[in-house]
């Protein structure tokens, strides 16, 4: 039977180190630590749960949830990220689509897709050699007001049920990516709501999925920004790990990067 052998979440941004060298380095070393932990788990698959940044999707055709079904992905290469291909897992991706659809949740096909930094910063640090098959599972919060925390919880619950029901001995690692508070292309850009970030992390630490899923996108948008909506990816991970307790590996509020930066492991208990 398949199993989820690890669950992590981290911000999916990096920025110029100039003037914030120490914070920058703490963030990067925290991301590297997540990568080391994931590789030590010897996963057969990494599911990267994240939002695209309207590089692969259109406002004319919103796809709140979508999944990459290709055998191989060529990254977009935005932000100067490497474009070396990464192996996919069409069997897992298409199987999850069917599984979710049969339970009333639509997950669109993302094909072709060229993963942008939302996938490739966390995955690029986690698997520098690009050997571990990876599936991008999009929680596209750029299509606000959907998807919201309640739907994200449902997605996470289905992801767990599907992974655990796999007939093979798949070793699945979940890697949520995005957030925390930040405003993208808006007057508040550069603002970070550290208090809100820490409250969100506290709910993640406790594994309080009820509190996480009770949040509302309009409230998140107001106090944590349009980029803050990306925490829905974290809620997916929390919902897939019921009862798990979190461990914060880094948190830095970096106005120069216009983002609250965090990383966490969720430990099954």
């Amino acid at each position: 039977m398949g199993s989820i052998v690890g669950a992590f979440a981290m911000s999916h941004q990096l920025g110029a180190p100039d003037g914030v060298e120490e914070q920058s380095e703490r963030v990067f070393q925290g991301m590297r630590e997540i990568g080391r932990r994931i590789r030590a788990l010897e996963p057969s698959l990494i599911v990267v749960v994240t939002s695209d940044h309207l590089n692969n999707f259109s406002l004319e055709a919103p796809a709140p949830f979508a999944i990459g079904t290709a055998k191989e992905f060529t990254p977009l290469g935005d932000m100067g990220l490497p474009r070396d291909p990464i192996p996919g897992s069409p069997g897992f991706a298409e199987g999850f689509q069917t599984f979710a659809r049969s339970r009333g949740l639509s997950v669109a096909t993302a094909d072709p897709v060229h993963p942008d930094h939302g996938v490739m910063i966390p995955l690029g640090i986690t698997d520098p050699e690009r050997r571990i098959p990876a599936v991008p599972l999009y929680v596209n919060t750029v299509f606000y007001p959907e998807p919201g925390p309640a739907e994200s919880r449902r997605l996470g619950e289905l992801l767990r049920a599907y992974a655990e029901g796999l007939p093979d001995d798949a070793r699945v690692v979940l890697l949520g990516a995005g957030g925390l508070s930040h405003w993208v292309g808006m007057p508040q850009e550069g603002t970070i709501n550290e208090l809100w970030d820490r409250q969100f992390l506290a709910d993640m630490l406790k594994g309080d999925i009820d509190a996480l899923a009770a949040r509302d996108n309009s409230e998140i948008l107001r106090v944590a920004g349009n980029g803050g909506l990306e925490v829905n990816a974290w809620i997916v991970i929390a919902a897939a790990m019921p009862g798990a307790r979190g461990e914060i590996l880094f948190y830095e509020a970096i106005p120069e990067w216009a983002t609250g930066m965090a990383g966490m492991e969720l430990h099954a208990v």
Binding site: G15, A16, L54, E189
Partner: protein
């Protein structure tokens, strides 16, 4: 608020066709004409700040892209190799 007609379509086109992004600097009027963008929106696209672009209803992710292609990024560029060479 909804963006002025044609603006999101223009930016989505440039997302899909990176070879045309140079026109943002060299001949923006050709792009504006092709996507039927009105004079008021053209002025904001040509010289507007991030906040002005946001105020006319352009999606935040598109504001960022437009400003980068215009040579007016809101955050400084950096070499990703600073991090990725040390993974």
């Amino acid at each position: 608020m909804t963006a002025p007609p044609g603006v999101h379509a223009l930016i989505e086109h440039l997302v899909r066709c990176p070879e045309e992004r140079a026109l943002v600097k060299t001949d923006p009027d050709a792009l504006f004409a092709r996507f039927g963008i009105g004079e008021e929106a053209r002025a904001v696209l040509r010289q507007g700040t991030r906040d002005e672009l946001s105020r006319i209803g352009i999606h935040g992710n598109y504001v960022i892209k437009w400003l980068i292609w215009s040579g007016r990024p809101t955050l400084p560029f950096f070499a990703m190799s600073h991090f990725f060479d040390r993974r």
